[in-house]
Amino acid sequence: MNLRQGRIGTRESVAMIGLAVLSKLLCQKLELFALNSSNVMWFTGAAAVLVAGIMFALCLYLLRDGGDLVSGLNNNLGRLGGSFFSLLICALLLFSAAQTMSSFYLVLTLYIYPNTNPLLLLALVALCAGVPAYMGLECVSRTARFFFPILIIVLLCLVIFPWRQYDASRLYPIAGEGFMRELAGGVPASVMYIDVIALAMLTVPLQGKKQVKRVGFWALSITFFATTLVLLAVSLTFSSGLLNEMVSPIYSLATNITMNRSHVRVDDYLMFLWIMCSALGIAFNIYLVSNVFCRTTGAGEIRPVVPLVCLLCVALAMLIQISPAFYKVAERFVSSYGYWIVLGPVALASLVAFVKRRRRPRAKEADA
């Protein structure tokens, strides 16, 4: 097997995961936090991180015997079951990448290229994502490390600059549809943190479980703070009624920034970063899907698989565009139950691993 993934440092990995999650969460799936009422979405995000944290902890538990998440699932659920669930997680990642691609394409057509052929746009996005994925994980992560601090700075600008338009009354009623109900509404949104869970599939390039743990913690923390702050800024700037009508609240937030007489052109920076982050996020997902596919099917070379996965992603993105009915069903399913696709197998495998571990000393004693 010739998996050219290199060895990646902590900062690169945090940047890569951070970009993947933030580009998805803030630019495309902000409404996941606003299913019921958008004025409380800033604390709804906390529930999503909590569930993602639990999932990640379970993944780390599976890594105790060495190897990575794929081998952990294989060891505890059998090779067939493990491969099936690994591919299922990959399918979710692929759908997530296609969704990102599709939303990204939608934004491009709406704001930048209203007259361009959709196929050309999709091809462009696929090329932007496919080439780094083809070049390997190290390439993706090193590029991500360059862009991640810039994204954080732009997000901070988005939080600080619109302060004149903040109105605390927009956060009220503070509990939205009820505190527990809003928190429960945030649980399905944990599916957006699937990239953090996917870290556990990359123990080899991440140089072991310790680093995976460190990267996961930092990625979750940074994305949590960034998401909460931006969601809070959006909620303070726009009322619920306006938010429901917006295609991209974060873009609207960027365009609304004014400093005295002049508009501050944060939207241009945001758009550029959006393009880069989305491309890198999709590249990471494509690489991971190709990687796991190669390992579960025993394919020796990853490079021929990457373009195929990329094409599959484009096809899915096109299907989303062509068939709104398909997208509606698939999106609703993933938004509502997607987290079970990760949490279910991981929790099951962890339970089996726990039982096995409890039995092992007894078996040793019996042998003795």
């Binding site: 709406l110 009623p173 939205g176 009624g241 306006l242």
Partner: protein, 464 residues
């Protein structure tokens, strides 16, 4: 081979990045006409008449002050844009839009909501652009914004946006504020009112006939406010858009405000009422207050703290609103007003009571109209934990039967007193209780333009 492949991949990614930066669908500056202001009137043949104000690349006889106005009647903004685009060598671009002007007639008929329903966000303008109501038709207002001299119109429009921070003669309202007022009962749009000044227009016409320039006219009248103050209250004129006494190449002006309910104009306020309304709505920052007290006639009001809204009882609804102001008094040379604490207290009391009375009057009239123009709902909603509780509360119905307790806290800065006391060793403290809304008004005080003497909101029916 590996290196070659890497180079190919690198060039491909750079190429893709370049393409995604705008080589396709490039927008050349020569092909675009940046719209600075959009005017919307009721049409004669079609529903709306849209007017766009664009800067001209070359000043010619066809352009006035380097700007052009193009109009088209259509049922929607998109249709009008297409119509205008067909007659121009450029395509209209709204990304630099500063101002949207709705005519009063349109606003009165409730067409603003209709205009905003098929969200015009696809035009690409920023939702922070200003929105105003014009007493004349909107295209005439846009036309009056620039005279024959070259005025930097974009700068002028941006200056207008900042003006409410300094003078409180009219409020600031953005497209987003207006959209918000259409979606929630706790927001109420308070739009500035613009008009073509009848005096300035007449003067301009006369000047054109005699070919005199502005600088050659030493007898030019002062800005209307100052003159009105010297007159007895009963003889004063309201400070409303289009009727101020001034002379300028720019005949359009903005003054006062209009209250909209669900996109329909329900009342108009003059400048003085607007100041009090802005105070009550927490939109006030700074402004001049005119009163008469032994020769000292101007107070510079500044916001000391944001307003506070407290619910005293929910059933029946009783709300308390507290506004906190500080200010300076403009004194003449050689006066010793600050040495007399009683006189300072008298001035504070007079100003406080006038604001208190005007606020009370405005609240009563808004309550009768069933419009929460003070945006008290923003304070009341804090007492509700969930949306369900808030919706079942039925805010507007409760508001119509509510009572408001107003408290105005105004303190004058006492610079000279401090100096004096430093010399004499006396400690100076702000007077307690002298500046509450219930104190008696001994001084003769008035709002700018005689607002305090006005008994009712100048409603839609109010003639000019």
């Amino acid at each position: 081979m590996k290196k070659l492949f890497s180079y190919v991949a690198l060039f491909l990614s750079i190429g893709a990045a370049l393409l995604s930066c705008g080589c396709q669908d490039a927008r050349n500056i020569d092909d675009e006409a940046h719209v600075l202001a959009l005017g919307i009137d009721t049409g004669k043949e079609r529903r709306f008449k849209f007017s766009v104000q664009i800067p001209s690349q070359t000043a010619s006889t066809a352009t006035k002050g380097g700007f052009m106005i193009h109009s088209a009647e259509a049922d929607s903004i998109y249709e009008a844009i297409d119509l205008i685009n067909t007659s121009l060598p450029w395509r209209l671009n709204f990304t630099h839009l500063n101002l949207i002007a709705f005519s009063e007639e349109l606003a009165r008929q409730g067409y603003i909501e209709e205009f905003m329903r098929p969200s015009p966000r696809h035009l690409g303008f920023r939702t922070t652009c200003s929105v105003i109501i014009t007493r004349d038709n909107a295209s005439a207002f846009l036309d009056g914004m620039h005279g024959q001299n070259d005025i930097n119109l974009a700068k002028q429009q941006r200056t207008w946006v900042l003006e409410p921070m300094k003078s409180a003669l009219f409020p600031e309202c953005t497209y987003m504020n207006l959209a918000e007022s259409l979606t929630s009962p706790i927001y109420c749009a308070l739009l500035p009112v613009g008009a073509v000044n009848i005096n300035a227009e007449a003067e301009q016409k006369r000047k054109n006939e005699t070919e005199e320039t502005f600088s050659h006219r030493p007898e030019a009248p002062r800005w209307g406010v100052g003159e009105a103050v010297s007159e007895p209250p009963s003889e004063r004129t309201e400070l409303v858009a289009g009727e101020t006494i001034r002379e300028s190449v720019n005949t359009s002006e903005i003054m006062g405000s209009a209250i909209l309910e669900h996109g329909k104009l329900v009342a108009e306020l003059d400048a003085s009422q607007t100041l009090v309304m802005m105070l009550a709505r927490n939109q006030f920052n700074q402004g001049w207050y005119f009163y008469s007290d032994e020769g000292h006639s101007v107070a510079d009001l500044k916001l000391a703290r944001p307003r506070r809204v407290t619910v005293i009882s929910q059933n029946p609804l009783k709300i308390r609103i507290e506004v906190f102001l500080k200010g300076d008094i403009e004194i003449g040379l050689g006066t010793d007003v600050f040495k007399d604490e009683n006189r300072i207290a008298r001035i504070e009391s007079a100003v406080t009571q006038s604001i208190h009375g005007e606020m009370e009057r405005l609240f009563g009239q808004c309550r009768e109209l069933g419009v929460d123009a003070f945006e008290l709902g923003k304070g009341v909603i804090l007492n509700f934990a969930t949306n369900k509780e808030w919706q079942s509360y039925n805010w507007i119905e409760k508001y119509k039967a509510s009572e408001l307790e107003i408290s105005v806290d105004f303190r004058l800065n006492r610079y000279n007193v401090s100096n004096e006391s430093a010399q004499t060793g006396k400690e100076t403290k702000p007077l307690e209780g002298a500046n509450q809304g219930s104190t008696t008004n001994e001084g003769k005080n008035e709002m700018p333009g005689g607002g305090a003497s006005k008994d009712n909101i100048g409603g839609m029916e109010g003639g000019r």
